[in-house]
């Protein structure tokens, strides 16, 4: 008996020592140094926002040494840190490493097959970024290669970004990242390809109008109606088959025709509204890009980029949010003189791109619209809503009171979900946790100001104004820049 008791006590002690004393060994980076784990990424982010770039670099650099499935993520994070440090050479290197991997379909293929199986988690696959991350990686690569005078490769990066941006559902959402088109237009002009330059400029103008703040909600709505219109047309096509039609069928066709007519007029109204808005947009900020006398691109990175997180009982939904930027406008003084009108290209809103790329916001709009317009009672949706609501409540109860019995509610919720879940999101049911890896050190806004500066040293003062039109001292700063040539200088400044 005594021996058994001794064995039990010893076993418990050994288990306790293992559980509570040993640091986790997974994801340990290079030997000899402090063991860096993937969870240290958060510490690196915090260090970055404290502007302790040394700590941030050392953590992400150690993680990068693993050359694991997150290699592109670590490189993107490092690229942002190096850029904030003012080390463009290292930034180019990091962004390029990420760029190659993010656009390499074959890379980490063996992990992809695991992730799409029923038992694999989404985060099991290699990080290659959402479409918006590919777009901004391409923009950074293009800007940095442009600064190095490698115009051909910079142009290739622009084209790649435009392609990634077009990788979404409907025609209207072909690339709308104006900065990529503008840069491509400028580079073509520098290379003497005037026709291509004009083409890119026209696309830039189109994208600029499409993403203008007053047009954004209209575009989203228009997109939704267009998709719904397509759906209804398909429905009509099926009913309109040449065989003999029953009375009920004829009535249904009539109803559909009326509905389609109404949708068309709704789309037309939105398009008219958009055209009215377009007429009020001043494109002069874009024209400055094509003025080659403007030998310098001042690039300001403002605020914190989109934050991607999981919600739901199993973390099955991935959502984006962002911390609103405190800056309403920016004023730039060079050697004490205010830059002419400060016409700044101000619509590279990363959060908007994140929500509208990768089918997140658009998906919900499309589905929402379809449900909204359905005249018949949609039981599936009703059940889904009720189920979600019950599960949420049960979750909340469990969270607030771990001893409350909510298993009944959860079962009921789950049961209703099964009834309601016709074919939607079937993948989430088997292995639900959504992948929320994202390039979190991105800014929320990228502002680009083309300027004509003489070669030599200049003092640049950046004044950021808040919504109360007062200067925000913590975000305003002065820096010295060195203009080295007559055509392709770039200056990056991160304002956190």
């Amino acid at each position: 008996m005594k021996k058994i008791l001794n064995k039990i006590v010893c076993s418990i002690l050994i288990v306790s020592v293992f559980l509570f004393s040993c640091p986790p060994v997974s994801f340990a980076a290079s030997s000899g140094k402090k063991k860096i784990k993937i969870t240290d990424g958060k510490e690196a982010e915090e260090a970055y926002y404290r502007q302790d770039y040394g700590t941030a670099v050392s953590i992400f650099d150690s993680l990068r040494e693993n050359k694991d499935k997150n290699y592109a993520l670590w490189n993107n994070q490092l690229g942002s840190i190096y850029l904030a440090k003012g080390d463009c050479r290292e930034a180019t290197d990091a962004f390029l490493k990420a760029h190659y991997l993010m656009n390499d379909i074959a890379a980490f293929k063996e992990l992809e097959s695991g992730a799409v199986s029923l038992i694999g988690a989404e985060a099991q696959k290699a990080y290659k970024g959402d479409p918006y991350e590919k777009v901004f990686n391409s923009l950074y690569v293009a800007l940095l290669l442009y600064a190095e005078g490698d115009l051909d490769n910079a142009l290739a990066a622009c084209k790649n970004g435009i392609l990634c941006d077009s990788d979404v559902q409907a025609d209207m959402y072909q690339s709308d990242v104006t900065a990529l088109y503008l840069l491509a237009s400028r580079i073509n002009l520098m290379l003497g390809n005037n026709t291509a330059s004009t083409e890119y400029y026209n696309k830039a103008l189109e994208a600029y109008c499409l993403t203008w703040p007053t047009n954004r909600p209209l575009v989203g709505e228009e997109q939704g109606w267009l998709s719904y219109f397509k759906e209804k047309q398909e429905e009509l096509k099926k009913l309109d088959a040449p065989e003999k039609k029953s009375k009920a069928k004829i009535k249904k066709i009539e109803t559909l025709n009326v509905e389609i007519g109404k949708i068309e007029s709704d789309i037309k109204a939105l398009q008219d509204q958009r055209q009215n808005n377009d007429a009020k947009i001043d494109p002069s900020a874009l024209k400055d890009f094509l003025d080659l006398k403007n030998n310098t691109l001042l690039i300001l990175e403002l605020g914190r980029g989109p934050l991607k997180y999981q919600i739901g009982q199993y973390g099955q939904y991935a959502l984006f949010t962002n911390k609103p930027c405190r800056v309403k406008r920016v004023e730039i003084m060079v050697d004490g003189n205010r830059l002419s009108d400060n016409k700044m290209f101000m619509d590279s809103d990363v959060y908007f791109q994140a929500r509208t790329r990768g089918g997140r916001e658009m998906d919900s709009i499309l589905k929402g619209k379809a449900q909204f317009k359905q005249t018949t009672a949609d039981m599936a949706m009703g059940f889904m809503d009720a189920s979600r609501s019950i599960i949420n409540t049960a979750n909340q109860q469990a969270a607030a009171n771990p001893y409350s019995d909510n298993s009944g509610a959860l079962m009921l919720g789950a049961g209703m979900a099964v009834i309601g879940l016709v074919a939607a999101v079937a993948s989430a049911a088997a292995n639900p946790t959504a992948d929320v890896r994202h390039w979190s050190l991105m800014p929320s806004e990228i502002l680009i100001l083309p300027a004509n500066l003489s070669t030599g040293q200049h003092s640049v003062q950046i004044n950021c104004y808040g919504f109360d039109d007062q200067i925000i001292p913590s975000l305003s700063s002065t820096m010295d820049i060195d203009i080295i040539n007559d055509n392709n200088n770039t200056v990056f400044k991160r304002l956190i």
Partner: protein, 193 residues
Amino acid sequence: MNIRKWALPIIVIACFSLTGCVGSSGNYFLRKNQERLELKEGYGAMLLTFHASGVKTFTPYTLTVQEINQYKDFSKKPLKPITVQKLKTSGDIYLLNTTLPEGTYLINNIGGGLMYGTRFYIPSAKVCDITSGKVAYAGRLEALFGNQKFVYGQGHTYDTSLTVTDLYNEDIPLFKTEYPILQNERIDMDLLY
């Protein structure tokens, strides 16, 4: 060494450690008549005010938070109810405060009591940032209760919506009056979003 003598206490301690019962701590930050602010290393504090309209007597008790951290596995980011110190002022405004380790948190719901003591959870999707060593104002949370409705399996409930407003100049004096310890304290602004 008499192993039998030590066996029971060791087993008890080990069991407590394994079930996570050891080490749970409160999230209180401000107390009446407190002499100094105590902020644990690596922790920050959040001050916010709460007001409900539509239903007159909703009393907030807890905020259920969940860490947002892409580097951590979802299973290691459980929903965590935190008790918020509350103080009702005139105009049914509640002063809430809490302390958390540095990080970003999703406020999943606000738990509290409706009239006649009925428990109710207001769902939320607001996010807060906690910075180590800092006390920050997170805004005024305004909960709007819509009409009562019946949801199958839940019984009678309410549609609710939450908005956050920056009322720093109005709310911080309320905190400073109720908690004089804050008089000379720097209170940053880091609104929920």
